[in-house]
């Protein structure tokens, strides 16, 4: 991460074009975070661009106490949250039929069936998560899909550990209910 510090120092001394180096280094991480919340490639790119734009605008506030990629990840999570709030207002973009028969069969079938493909599983979760609030979606995604600890989630979302635990518990219960509702629709 020393390289990041060097690039940041150059940018602060006027080499603004060097920000492209930071984009090059961290775009995959930003895409990986945002892809959990937006599956459309064009929208995903827009969100990633918004993340880097916000980082650029608030670069003077970066105090280097945490590594640059942690700070950038936090911005990406905020961009994702804003996006989820926006699409929550616009309501659903995918319908149950879009999930495909395989997914619905898996959901309504016995527990010992073979696993879904990763893409199908992610689509099913995205569909079921529509019932969760944006904050709950972020917490459950970070905990279950990114494998982050409560402490890490608290740092990245700017919430307390207790709030993260409560949200995660509520999100898990809501998600289970949503999946059961989909199961019942399939039967």
């Amino acid at each position: 991460m020393n390289d990041d510090a060097e690039i940041l120092a150059r940018i602060r001394h006027g080499a603004t074009d060097d920000f492209a180096e930071l984009i090059q280094r961290h775009k995959s991480q930003v895409f990986a975070i945002l892809y959990r919340y937006e599956r459309d490639h064009h929208k995903l790119e827009d969100l990633a661009q918004e993340t880097f734009l916000r980082a650029w605008r608030s670069l003077s506030q970066f105090d280097a106490r945490a590594p640059f990629n942690h700070w950038l990840a936090r911005i990406a999570v905020n961009v994702a949250l804003d996006h989820l709030r926006k699409i929550k207002r616009q309501q659903a973009e995918i319908s149950l039929a879009d999930l495909g028969d395989d997914v619905l069969d898996w959901l309504s079938g016995p527990d010992d069936r073979s696993d879904l493909e990763s893409k199908q599983a992610a689509e099913l979760l995205t569909f079921a998560m529509r019932d969760l609030s944006p904050a709950e979606q972020v917490v459950i995604t970070m905990q279950e899909l990114e494998g982050r600890s409560v402490k890490e989630i608290a740092q990245r979302t700017g919430s307390s550990g207790v709030a993260v635990r409560v949200r995660a518990m509520r999100a898990r219960a809501k998600l289970r209910q949503a999946l059961e509702r989909i199961q019942n629709t399939c039967l």
Partner: protein, 99 residues
């Protein structure tokens, strides 16, 4: 049918393995262009707006002055007294009535 813990976990596990799509090759260039645009707007927006606005303000002021002069001349031509003396007369009457 209930969604068991095991099934829930298997769903998360499967979704966890999904790889995100790779960014487009032109992504960096596009972001840098957006940054330059936003920097340009931030630096010059106020100046640009004043520059754009100023000739309009001058033109608007000149148009108001010209229309006032035209009214003054027009009123002067069609009545024996000019507009300012009429206004002074009306205001004197009003002040006198008030007292």
């Amino acid at each position: 049918m209930l969604m068991t813990n095991e099934k829930n976990d298997r769903l998360f596990k499967a979704a966890r393995n999904e790889a995100p799509p790779a960014p487009d090759a032109a992504f960096d260039t596009r972001v840098m262009a957006a940054i330059r645009r936003s920097t340009h707007q931030q630096t010059f927006s106020i100046l640009d707006r004043i520059n754009l606005l100023f000739p309009r303000i001058v033109f608007a002021s000149a148009a108001i002055i010209a229309s006032c002069l035209l009214i003054e001349v027009g009123v002067g031509m069609f009545s024996h007294s000019d507009l300012s003396s009429k206004v002074a007369e009306i205001s004197e009457q009003w002040i006198f009535a008030a007292n």
